[in-house]
Symmetry: C2
Subunit: 463 residues, 2 copies
Amino acid sequence: MMADITPVLERADANLPNSLERLFDLIRIKSISTDPAFKAECRKAAEWLAAELAALGFEASVRDTPGHPMVVAHHGAEKATAPHLLFYGHYDVQPVDPLNLWEAPPFEPSIKEVEPGRKIITGRGTSDDKGQLMTFVEAVRAYKETRGALPCRITILFEGEEESGSPSLKPFLEANAAELKADYALVCDTGMWDRETPAISAGLRGLVGEEIIVTAADRDLHSGLFGGAAANPIHILTDILAGLHDETGRVTLDGFHEGVEETPAEIKRTWETLGRTAEKFLGEVGLSIPSGEKGRSLLELTWARPTAEVNGIIGGYTGEGFKTVIAAQASAKVSFRLVGKQDPLKVRESFRAYARSKIPADCSVEFHPHGASPAIHLPYDSALLTTAKIALSKEWPKPAVVIGMGGSIPVVGDFQTMLGMESLLVGFGLADDRIHSPNEKYELQSFHKGIRSWIRILDALAA
Amino acid sequence: MMADITPVLERADANLPNSLERLFDLIRIKSISTDPAFKAECRKAAEWLAAELAALGFEASVRDTPGHPMVVAHHGAEKATAPHLLFYGHYDVQPVDPLNLWEAPPFEPSIKEVEPGRKIITGRGTSDDKGQLMTFVEAVRAYKETRGALPCRITILFEGEEESGSPSLKPFLEANAAELKADYALVCDTGMWDRETPAISAGLRGLVGEEIIVTAADRDLHSGLFGGAAANPIHILTDILAGLHDETGRVTLDGFHEGVEETPAEIKRTWETLGRTAEKFLGEVGLSIPSGEKGRSLLELTWARPTAEVNGIIGGYTGEGFKTVIAAQASAKVSFRLVGKQDPLKVRESFRAYARSKIPADCSVEFHPHGASPAIHLPYDSALLTTAKIALSKEWPKPAVVIGMGGSIPVVGDFQTMLGMESLLVGFGLADDRIHSPNEKYELQSFHKGIRSWIRILDALAA
């Protein structure tokens, strides 16, 4: 029989003020991985984490990669029979532009009471993913401080390139497979169903990122002199992008829907009981009408259907005022969310072939890949998932639900294919956390009960 | 009988080194009118010009407007019977981005020998329009220094907002109509036919500038969470822009072609003799295939056909790397070149109605106007034009030709409608001057023979 975890939970409660101080220290480090200007800050975050883990008794190290470093740490279990778990999180964060929309500086975290009894932690990375990964570190701390030992053998892997396509992840997993292989992986980069209901994510969409650069003339041209005769790369690019969807919102690329499967009616019925309507979900961000494919429910659109999305576009004169120029170049960043068995590389090739077919003979196009990962579907009825579901349901007002996810966590696929590990996806973010946007926040309750949730999950998995 | 102008021409030749020094001083002033950061520089350019003109004996003043100031200067004629001419030029210049493409700093002019016997003046505004307007000032100087008088009564109007839609021009002309009304206007903001052939422009396309801003959600969204369900303003915008042309390159807006007239066969035949082919014209900028409407000659496309051109577009993440964001907003700057009797305001309204029709009910669109002017067609056989043609033909290796123009010089229309003045459009720019682009230049020959050309034109008009 396992020891009672009440003292561990109480320790976590007592630690909370100091846990927050530590989280704040981590948030203050501007670890924006996609922008080379913040390279040193990324390393600083890795070093800060390794030092924290070492102080908790882990054998911890900062491991160089061609990009930002990984943090790897190991700790043994109280009993040799306990399972070995690999915990994954990422210490890098998204860029903060447009900075002028932030109500408080993104790297100066603070606690704000937004309504009586509800406090939030503000700052870039609070929810994605520093606040989340620290729930696990603090759960471990509560165990160590209470019992001097951990209930499971734990390996920790913190990545610093999750927000920039994880270029070093696969090679690192490959080179260190023996060291990183565990019984299960725990991934903390997902959300709750709502404020009262914890969630375990069993399906994730894949992702293909692609940058396209169209070049026409060898210089910017005056639209008076050349307009009507010279190719305009913005016209070519907008034509390519506008052609990605038909009038029903369906992606038009050749072979794109190969491997896309219809969601079983039974799963769709379960989703309906969750009560997430387009009005409620989109209403929170000032919208009301689902865009995208016609005739699909909101949860189908965001969990089970593939998309093509333009994430950024730039070309020509974009400053104040007006300039009658025909640009030499225009570019866009495009991403595809994948489901079922869609092949990321085939999708990329299909996009490139389509775009090339739209380029006039005297113009040119260049592509830059930014990550490619297939969709992931975890078994809805595994022992891992069932155990975690029960543990989570003890902590929160409502029982845990098993859901799909619109986002992509490529590492889950890599753990499966490269290390043969099933992943448990548990996280405490909320839909209104504004991750990737100005004014990102994490609920204080997510942080506090998140720590307690991991204590319960570790205890349950050890049994 | 008029006095011989040989001494005046010789004086201009002797002055050349000092004329260049003065031009360089003017180019060093960063008078970018479209960017509020350069407001003080615009005023400085106006003050510099007024001081130069005052030193030449003009009654010169800098005149405030709600935007950048005007320069107005008056000088009497040797004989009361001589015509009164209004000379127009603009001292403002285009922005210089992308700065990294300039081979020399844009505001540090220099003379460069590009091939034996051919020198160019480098820098922003050398060709558009500081170098051009200084040809006239230096022609006047040569007269004054030789004869102590001018052959015609001259009023000078220098504008500082030509590159940003001339918002103050019409009100200024209206308020100062009596002071500015002359017998003819001389406008120096156009080009030569080729290095040896001067040109007089008899047709100019009109221009409508419009900025469109599409807003979807009230914040940037994560494309994993929201992709497939939330409206993406870049998709809406690219769809609007891509729909501006049909597959034949024809603009699709309702009523857009109202007032567009077919060019008479006789004019088209004259154009054919000029020998400007798509291969030659586009070849100079790295292109070869005329884009735009199918089945039209290059000169028709650039002189006689209306266009819709996207001059700039921006939305979402455009920095280094990748960010899976759905932007809250996307915007573009669009311009329409007009011909014949197309109504600029109707074109603007048609574009807005079309764009609005593409905006989903939960999204919004905003428009900002940036100038509107109709096309101008001057009589091919007026006395003014014929006189100038003879004078120009004396200065250059080949006789002057009368041509159309793809660009827009709204002031010509305003002179016609508001002051009842015919304009003579003579300039010495070349197609490869890279106006509005990095590495703008003006041929030293354009500057030198430009000065001499104005001496000859003033002499001919005085007779």
